[in-house]
Each structure stands twice: as structure tokens, then as C-alpha cells.
Symmetry: C2
Subunit: 321 residues, 2 copies
């Protein structure tokens, strides 16, 4: 018995089809996504090419703007202020960790298709789902964590017989990577849906589980003495994103029939070995990530176009007054 | 001839005296500063002790709240919402880089005495000096960079004969450290005041100089091929903050009569050698940093108390209506 290998393109297909239909049906301007490439990173360029391809397929107008990293901040601010741009994304890494996090926060939340600015990250960690009290504008969820949730739905880890928000109840999931960008938000989202999550990185393990609070029912994050070696055999799902060519998850420690997902640019699993042990293997997630990016874009496009309409009808009133 | 060694306490003294006087003269509530200690870091505890000591000397009510790092975010939010707290600071490091940067942004800008939240950092980089259009509320500048500017004023690097905002014109300054926390903001602030700055870290050199823009006249940051070895002999001032015990600035490469400032917790200079070459040496800046912290606190205290008054007079109106 060999694992079922799931192609991210198959998971993305219905989302891509839906996007295509929605965009074709639009009466107003087509969504415009601007991507900034300010590095020489090969993986970043590949991701940009993917974005362009998926956008072309769905009808989004994608514009890749290449610039020097020292020009990036000004170019982002220009795009923030441009009414014709609906979404902005940046192909990281650009500078170092902390300066890149600064850059993430210079993207206006109104155009942040990646969901990486503090407002969205904060709301996600606090399980705040809407931007406004009237609950008309949903928050943006970071693309890669969101893509992984969609993959978990596709491969049947979410149990639809359970009530919404509890559908991972009973699942143990290990996430190897605790970046603010993917691993930690992913752990929080999984915990918010009921899973017990071991979040592991080189600094140790944190455990995430569902909170009991009445207000937000947000996840709880606690220190854990559980090592990766102890976490792996307990885990129904192992999701890994270690950005190191040499890193491999030890197959022998995995549970028989595990569901294995790799979101790193490198191969984090011994793939041939893994296929003999896992039930399902998803070697990459990028195509779903791009679909989620476009899904986020559609949302921001809707809000921005409504906003523009409201502004132009207001200014119309002033003129006629 | 041996360098004049400047004690940070002497630089801080007039600020501390001014704070004392201002606080004694207050009619309303005394400023309350809450410090969060959520690690076992010795340097962090020492810094907390210093804060307590300076606060006791000036009349600020300082409250050290120790907690688990997993509790920190909730405790910060509690303090954000507490009308009796005027300032919040966190003794870093708590988690890793990116999660700490997330934590920095959970502190409300209304209470961010350290000036580390995105709003202040963004405004600082863009040379935006006020929070409001009416220019009644000044922005908060991060404490350590601000402390270093005050030290540079004290030791005569700022030339008061030049117009305000140009007083570092002609100075070449090397800053070894380009963290978002100290080194990069410091480089930008120095450039905004007219200096030519080499900002050096393990990833290379960036050059900062004054911008020519009409709107904000903000600094310009460009890539530089200048190595540290080339930058040091040109530099009138060398400011270093390398957090590594083994790191030493090579004395032989320094300009005769250099002004040397160390803001690292470790000794970054060969001190005995340096004293034979430098004109002025400032071995540490911490005491000025704490004074600046309290100065920022006084500002936030003023805004918050005005805000409270406005709210209470408004609610009074509603009652009498």
C-alpha cells in the first residue's frame, strides 16, 4: 500500500473555477493585483510566475513590479494610495527578518491580500472574524495557513459531522515551523477549530488548543515539554515547513497512516519511505496558496469598489448641493 | 592623552532633574509605568531594576509585572484598557524575533513609551513628527536611539551654530547594528539631522543620508559597497551595539580622536587601547535610555489625562442634557 499523493492543483481547481466565474460576471473594474519583487531569490521569482499564471487563468490583472529593495517602501505607499490597485503582495525575503516585518506593516490593510499586517494577524490570533461591528467585512487570513486548512478539508481531516468551529476535535497535529508568517498562525487556526497542536521549532515546543473563553473562544498557547520525537508518533497529521535543504522528518517516528503535508520550498520528507507509511501525502501547497491569494483579493476588491462608489456618490451630492 | 570617558549618568542628570520637577508640580495623578518581565534574561532584569530606581528618583509610579511569556499578550491588552496606566514597556527578548515584533505591536500606541509599535516607527522613518494634523501631539521616538542622540548633543557632535535639522551636516557616523529596534532607526534619525551614516551589520552596509524631498525631507537609504574596514577610518563617530561577547571593533581602523559609543550589553571596544586613540568614549547608554523612557511617559501621560478629562466633561454634558 502506497500513500495517496495529492496534487495541490486538484485542491485549487474548484477555487480557481469559482474565481473565474465570479470575475467573468463582474460589471465594474477587474481586480488588479500588484506584486513587488525586490530580490534575486529564485523561489520568489517562481512564486511570482505562478501568481501571474493563475491570475491569467482566472481573469485577475496581475502586475509584477520589480524594484530595488531600497525603493520598495515608497513603491508600496504609492500602490496603497492608487485607487486602481486592489491588492498588494511582496515576494519575501527582502531584507532581514525584522525589516521585512516592518515592510509587511507598510502595506495598507485595505490591500493586504497576504493578510500579514498586524491588524489581520492580531484579529486572527484573537479569533475576530470581521473588520467591522456590523460584520459586513470579513478579515483576511494569511494565504499559506488558509491554503493548508483548505487542503485539510480536501483530504478529510475536517469532520463535517461535527459543528462548525469544532471540526478538528480529536485530531492531533504537529506543525514543524513556528514563524509568524505561517507556522504560528496555522497552529492557532487549527486550535481554533478544535485540534490539539504541537508547534515545534528549534527553540522547542508550544502546545495550542481550543480556548474556553466566552468572548472570542480564542486558542490557548502553552509551553510544552513534548519533544518532536514524542509528538510525531501521536500525530494524525504532520505539517512541515523547514526552510533547510538538509532537513528531513524522521519517517520511523511517524504514525502508520499519517497525513503528511510539506509547505517548505525544500523536501522535508524522505518521500519514497514516507509513501510506504503515510495514508496521504501532499508534497506542496503553493497552487492552493495562490488561489487563496486571489480569493482574498476578491474580498478586498469588493470592499474597495463599494468604498469608491460611496465616495463618488457622496461627492456627487456635494456638487449638486 | 587619554579619552574623556563620559558617564551616561551625567548625560541623564539634567533630564532626571527636569522630570522630578515636572512630576512634583503635577496636580492630577502621577504617571504610572507598567513594565512586563516575561523571561529569565539577566540583562532584562537589570534593566527592570534600573527602571524602578530611576522611577523612584523622579516620582513615577513603576509597577513591574512578572508573568509567563504565554500570558504576556493578554496582560498587555489588560494594561492597554486600564485608564490608570500611562505607559507600558516590555523587557525583551521574550520569544523569537518575529513573535516579539508581533508583541510590540500589541502595545497600544497611546501607551507605547518605547516607541516600538509600527505607527511610531513608520512616522519616525518618514520624519512625521506629530500624531495629529493640528500638531498638538508629538510622536514617540524609540528610547535607545533617542538616548544616543542626546548623548551626541552632550558630547558636542551636534553643532548648534547650524540650523535645526542640519546640525550633523558634515559628520560621518558609523553605526554597527541595523536592528529595527535600535540600529536602523538611529541611522535614519542621524541622517534626518544631516549626517552621512554607514549602517553596518553582518549582511553588509547601507548608507543613510538626508533626503531632498520637499514634503517630509525624510532620510534616504541606499545600498553601499563600503566595508566596515573602509567606513571606520572615515568616521568621526562610531556607535556600536553588537550583542556578542566576543565582538570587538578593531581599534587600529578607527580615526584618531574618534568619538566612540557602545550601546551593546557587552563591551564592543578594546577599552584600554581605545582610550589611547579616541577623544571621547561613552561605554554605556542605559541610564539615558531610562530617562528618555520617562520623558516619553510624561508625554503619553499628558495626552491620556487630557483625553480622560475630555471624556469625563463630555459624559457630564450628556448627564446634564
Amino acid at each position: 500500500m502506497s500513500a495517496k499523493v495529492v496534487d495541490a492543483a486538484d485542491v485549487a481547481a474548484p477555487f480557481v473555477a469559482e474565481l473565474k466565474q465570479k470575475i467573468a460576471a463582474l460589471k465594474g473594474p477587474v481586480p488588479v493585483l500588484v506584486g513587488f519583487l525586490a530580490n534575486d531569490d529564485k523561489a520568489a521569482r517562481k512564486y511570482a510566475e505562478w501568481t501571474a499564471k493563475t491570475c491569467a487563468a482566472t481573469g485577475v490583472r496581475f502586475e509584477l513590479r520589480e524594484c530595488q529593495r531600497t525603493e520598495l517602501e515608497d513603491k508600496i505607499i504609492e500602490a496603497n494610495e492608487d485607487d486602481n490597485v486592489h491588492g498588494i503582495m511582496v515576494y519575501y525575503p527582502v531584507f532581514n527578518g525584522s525589516q521585512d516585518q516592518y515592510i509587511q506593516n507598510t502595506v495598507s490593510y485595505k490591500k493586504d491580500v497576504e493578510g500579514l499586517c498586524h491588524k489581520y494577524v492580531y484579529n486572527m490570533y484573537h479569533n475576530i472574524r470581521f473588520l467591522d461591528e456590523a460584520q459586513t467585512q470579513k478579515c483576511i487570513i494569511p494565504c499559506t495557513p488558509l491554503a493548508i486548512l483548505k487542503i485539510l478539508e480536501y483530504v478529510g481531516v475536517y469532520n463535517p459531522i461535527l459543528p462548525y468551529g469544532r471540526r478538528l476535535h480529536g485530531r492531533v497535529i504537529t506543525v514543524i515551523n513556528r514563524s509568524e508568517h505561517v507556522g504560528r498562525p496555522l497552529a492557532a487556526l487549527l486550535a481554533n477549530d478544535g485540534a490539539k497542536v504541537y508547534s515545534v521549532d528549534e527553540n522547542g515546543t508550544m502546545e495550542f488548543h481550543r480556548g474556553e473563553g466566552l468572548k472570542f473562544e480564542k486558542h490557548v498557547e502553552v509551553e510544552s515539554a513534548t519533544t518532536l520525537t514524542e509528538a510525531l508518533p501521536q500525530s494524525d497529521v504532520v505539517i512541515t515547513g523547514v526552510p533547510a535543504r538538509s532537513y528531513r522528518v524522521p519517517t520511523s517516528q511517524l504514525k502508520e497512516g499519517v497525513i503528511a503535508i510539506n509547505f517548505s520550498g525544500s523536501k522535508n520528507f524522505e518521500e519514497e519511505e514516507l509513501k510506504q507509511k503515510a495514508s496521504i501525502f501532499v508534497p506542496s501547497v503553493g497552487k492552493v496558496t495562490v488561489a487563496m491569494l486571489e480569493r482574498n483579493l476578491m474580498r478586498l476588491h469588493e470592499y474597495l469598489e463599494k468604498d469608491k462608489e460611496a465616495r463618488s456618490s457622496n461627492s456627487g451630492k456635494e456638487t449638486s448641493a
